[in-house]
Amino acid sequence: MEVTGPVTQRSVLDALERHYPVLLGTIRDRTTAKRRPFIRFFAGEADLSNEAPDGLLPDAIVLGAEVFVVVGAMAGG
């Protein structure tokens, strides 16, 4: 998926939602754009969930070596 400009959580999710409008509101709150409480972001072995949305993502993601993973956190087993 092509991302224009700096590759951040925000720009990646913006691109994802442009491609798949059905995902609007399912990963981020529509109004605040904050991550939904039970959604988590991972890449490699790193939990990026609490990183700033405008912080640059690791090079490995930008280069496609790592997948930016969006998961629903299935708490409690």
């Binding site: 609007l24 509101g25 399912t26 990963i27 109004t31 939904r36 039970f38 959604i39 629903g72 956190a73």
Partner: protein
């Protein structure tokens, strides 16, 4: 031969059950949207193949789905339910002001005459309408703009708009029911609303037990031939109105408990009403562990238990407010689903029951379509 299609919403997906007019054996399809809470799915009276489903989860929020083939295949439609204007606040459980916040769609009500028009009842309570088959939604701001709205407080299940009744003979007449605000009536197709709760009493719940709003109405139902006669299952009390909600009378005497969630009316007998008594607000299961549907053939003035085929011991399930439905065959079929995952069906107006399916996830809603 006619057929019946049941649309079942559960905690972990939607199921579609079909049977011929005998309603003795049922084909089960599903789960659709596996893993998602399907609060409600309903078909358009104008096109029974057009279905709408409310799909939600605590993780991913709200989606909406539409089918044009009776539930075999589905396509996502619009799911942007945006409150209009200044959202304001309503009291939270502790009485503190809380901003209006969308959580989910509790109920979908397709228009009687246009398959592309559908209403949606939301939590926090608001009414939305789509005129393009669910692609886009607009809030009917007259309801949440009512002067009493800032005082609406949630019931245990949330501040939810759970019942929508259109017409039936006059589509400009609408009723909605909100927990825990009460019943509201519109005479202009949802543009403006007025409370319709006079005669409801919520002693021990409201500071003013006879207040105009603040009553925890669980469900209302009417028969199309009597648009001014409404029946209500409230948080305690089974009620009846003969004047379109202007006044209400208690008709729960004779029931083992007048607490419950669902209520419905026989398709051909306007004075025949069904409820499922539940022990209490603290104990959400049938009295004495006996699952009994109660029927009144006199509009609530006398009640009889219906038990043939229903478990009469060790049954501790609940039946939610949107989980009972009737078909329009003769004899009238009655259906309800339980939190234990059973869907019970009666092909003879409640005289006899059998499980159409068992062991589903907890059932949230049941709708019945009568197909040619």
């Amino acid at each position: 031969m006619s057929a019946v299609r049941l649309l079942i919403g559960t905690r972990k997906g939607a199921f579609v059950l079909t049977s011929d007019g005998s309603r003795q054996s049922w084909q089960v399809e599903g789960p659709h949207f596996a893993g998602w809470e399907i609060y409600h799915l309903k078909g358009s009276p104008a096109d029974p193949q057009r279905l709408y489903a409310s799909q939600s989860s605590g993780w991913f929020g709200q989606l909406l789905q539409s089918s044009d083939d009776g539930g075999k295949t589905w396509e996502p439609v619009g799911h942007d339910f945006a409150y209009q204007g200044e959202t304001g606040t309503h009291p939270w459980y502790d009485g503190t002001p809380r901003p209006w916040q969308f959580t989910r769609i509790w109920h979908l009500e397709p228009s009687l005459d246009d398959p592309a028009v559908v209403y949606a009842g939301a939590q926090d309570a608001a009414l939305f309408r789509s005129t393009d088959g669910g692609q886009t939604w607009q809030e009917m701001v007259g309801l949440r703009g009512h002067p009493t709205a800032p005082s609406w407080q949630p019931g245990a299940g949330g501040l939810c708009l759970h019942t929508i009744i259109i017409g039936p003979h006059d589509p400009s007449r609408m009723f909605v029911a909100i927990s825990a605000a009460g019943v509201f009536r519109s005479a202009d197709a949802g543009e403006t609303w007025r409370p319709a709760n006079h005669g409801l009493s919520s002693e021990g719940v409201l500071p003013d037990p006879d207040a105009d709003v603040g009553h925890c109405v669980h469900r209302i139902a009417l028969h199309p031939s009597r648009p001014d006669v409404l029946f209500m299952q409230k948080h305690w009390d089974v009620m009846r109105s003969d004047d379109a909600g202007d006044s209400w009378q208690d008709v729960g005497e004779g029931l083992p408990s007048d607490f419950g969630f669902c209520i419905d009316v026989h398709a051909h007998e306007p004075e025949t009403v069904y409820v499922v008594p539940i022990t209490s607000d603290a104990l959400h299961y049938p009295p004495e562990g006996k699952l009994r549907v109660y029927r009144s053939r006199t509009g609530g003035h006398e009640w009889e238990p219906l038990t043939n085929g229903l478990p009469q011991q060790n049954c501790y399930v609940n039946v939610y407010r949107d989980a009972m439905a009737v078909d329009s065959l003769d004899p009238c079929g009655i259906y309800f689903g339980t939190t234990g995952g059973q869907v019970y069906a009666s092909a003879d107006a409640g005289d006899n029951w059998a499980a159409a399916v068992r062991d589903l996830p907890a059932v949230l809603s049941v709708e019945a379509q009568t197909l040619p």
